[in-house]
Symmetry: C2
Subunit: 362 residues, 2 copies
Amino acid sequence: MLSHVHAVILAGGSGTRFWPASRRLLPKQFLPLAPQTDEPLIAATLRRIESLVPAERVWVATGASLIDATAAMLPRVARSHLLGEPVARNTAPCIGWAAAVIARADPQAIVAVLPADQHIGDEDAFRQVLERALETAHEGWLTTIGIVPTRPETGYGYIEVGEPIAEGVSVARRFVEKPDRERAQAYVAGSRHLWNAGMFFFRASDMRAAIAQHLPGLAAGLDRIDQAALRGEEARSLADVFPSLPAISIDHGVMEKAQRIAVVAGSFGWNDVGSWEVAWEMAGHDAHGNAVPQATVAIDATNNLVKDLSRRAPPKRWTLLGVHDLVIVETEDAVLVMPRARAQDVRAVVDALRKRGETDVL
Amino acid sequence: MLSHVHAVILAGGSGTRFWPASRRLLPKQFLPLAPQTDEPLIAATLRRIESLVPAERVWVATGASLIDATAAMLPRVARSHLLGEPVARNTAPCIGWAAAVIARADPQAIVAVLPADQHIGDEDAFRQVLERALETAHEGWLTTIGIVPTRPETGYGYIEVGEPIAEGVSVARRFVEKPDRERAQAYVAGSRHLWNAGMFFFRASDMRAAIAQHLPGLAAGLDRIDQAALRGEEARSLADVFPSLPAISIDHGVMEKAQRIAVVAGSFGWNDVGSWEVAWEMAGHDAHGNAVPQATVAIDATNNLVKDLSRRAPPKRWTLLGVHDLVIVETEDAVLVMPRARAQDVRAVVDALRKRGETDVL
C-alpha cells in the first residue's frame, strides 16, 4: 500500500435539499440516508476508507459552524484535522487550503478528496478503484474517478475519456457541463463519457503547482495563509484572507485547464444521494413501491416515501389511503409533504421560511 | 314556552369516519369539528338548546363504554341522565328506551331527540324550528325536522312533504332512502323533498304507542326493562334484554309506518359533519383553499386540509409543496394521509388496523 496517503473529506453543505431532516447545522452528510442503516453518510465515508487511510491521516474540510457537530460524529478524527472554512468559497479554495495544510504536515502527501455525502453500494469495488486512483496520483497525475453511467442523467457533469494510461485508467480529455437529455443519451450510448463524482486524487505538490499556474489569485491567498500558519497565526489570517479568495470549483478552476489529468473508471453502486427522490430510489420498498416506517397501513397507495424522524417512542402509526408518489418527511418540529417529482424544489420551502425569519426550523 | 319538554342527545358512534382524531372511546361528537371553535360538537348540541330545555331535563343516550367521557364533557347533565346502552342496537331501541325512562320521570314528557354530532350555522333559526317541532309534537304528531336541501346530495335520506298542517309544518308523506344522483337532482328541483336530519319530536306516550303498534317485539322488551326498573333492577335487565332487541332504526321501524307524521322545514346552516371532506368544506380556507395550521408554508399547494391534533408546543411547522386536495390528520400517535375524495373510505384504514390487532390506535 502507498505511504503518505491522506484523505480530505469535503463536508460543507447548506442543509436545504433534505430539509426538514437537514438543517443549517445538520446538513446532508450528518443524516443516515443510506438504506438499512442508521450510519450517517459522513461516518460511512470515513469507515469505507479506513483500511486504506488510517484516521490519523484523515482530514475534514467543513464550515466553521459545523466543526463541533463534525467532531461529535467522527470521534476518531483529531480536532486539529477538522478544517473550518470561515465562509464557503466553493471547492478550489477549500481543496487548495486543505492540500497546503497537509503539505505542511507531510510534504510528500498524496491526497484523496472525497465528498462526505455519497453512498457507495459495493465498497470493495470502490476501494479497488480508490487504490488505482491513488497510484495514478502517485505518478504525478491529477486524478479523478469517473462513474460508468447507468442512465442518461442530466443532473451530473461528465468526463470524456481519452487515451488509456493503465488498466482502467485513461487521460481525461474533457470535463463536460451538465448536458441536455439528448446529449446525455449520446454520452451513455457512446461509452466514452463517465459521471464526474467530485472525487480527486493528487500529490499535494502537484495541486499546489496547478493552482499556481491556473488560479494565481488563489495561490497568492493560500501563500499568505501558509506564511501566517508558519508564524502560528493561521486562524486570524484565514478570517482575513478566505473571504477574498475566488469562489470557483476545482473542476472549473483546475481540472478543466491543467495538463496530465487522469480518470479512473469506476462501477461500484455510486449514488450522490441528491434529493428525497433519490432517497426513495435507494430505500427498500414494499411490494407497492412504498418506503415507509414499519407497520404503516397503506391502502391503494403506491411509490411513496415516508421518513419519520420525530423519534417518538413508540413510533407514530402512519396510514396512507389512495396516495401515490408522495414524499412525507416529519421531524420533531416540522413536516414536509410534496410529490416525489418536486423533490428538486425543496429549496423553495427553505427560502420561504428564511424570508419569514423562521430560522428556528432551518 | 312548553313545559314537560325533555331532550335526548343521541351520542353513540364507533369513531371510524374521523379516525385518527376519533377513536372507539372518542367518537366524533367529542371532537371540536366546527369551524373557529374548540367546542366539541356534543357540547355545542347542549348549549344550543339550553334556552329551550334546561340541563336538568336533558338526557344523553350513548354506549356504556362512553359514559365517563360523556360525563366529563357535559358536567351540567346529571349522571343519572346518561343512558348507557350495553350494546348498540340502532336508534329504535335506543329512542324507545330513552322515551320509557323519561316517561317514568315525567309521564307528560315531550321529547326532542337530537344527534350529538351535527353543526348548526344559524342557531337562532334552529331554535325557532325546534320550538315549532315541539309544538307540533305537543299536538300528538310524531314530528321530524326536514332540512331544505342546498344540493342534490346522495348521502342522505329524504322526506317527501305532504299537506300543510301549520305554518312551516306539513304532513310527512314518505321517507325516502338515499337516492341516486338523478333522483336527488329531481328532489331538489321539485321543492317537495327535505333532508332527513335524524331529529325527532314526540310525546313519550305517542312514541310508546307507535312502537307497540309497529315494533311489538321491541315494545315487549322495553316493557320488561320498565318492569325491572320499577323493582330497582334496570341495570341487570338492560344487560339481559337489550342485546335481544331488534336492531332497527327509528326511521324504518316507526316513522315510515306510523300515522300522523309531521315534518317541519328548516334552513339553518345544518351540517352533519360526515367526513374529513366535510370538515374541509366547513373550515376557513386561505386564498388557495387550504385549511391548514397557522404559519403553514404552502407553495403551489391548493385545497388541502391539514389537521394537527398532536398538541405539540410550539406546533410543528407544516410545509406543503405542490400537493392538492389532500387530507392530512396527525394526532399524538397516528397520521392519516389521503386525497379528500377518499374521505368516505377511512373505515378501510380502521378495519385494517383492527385486523392487525392494533387497537391501541383505535
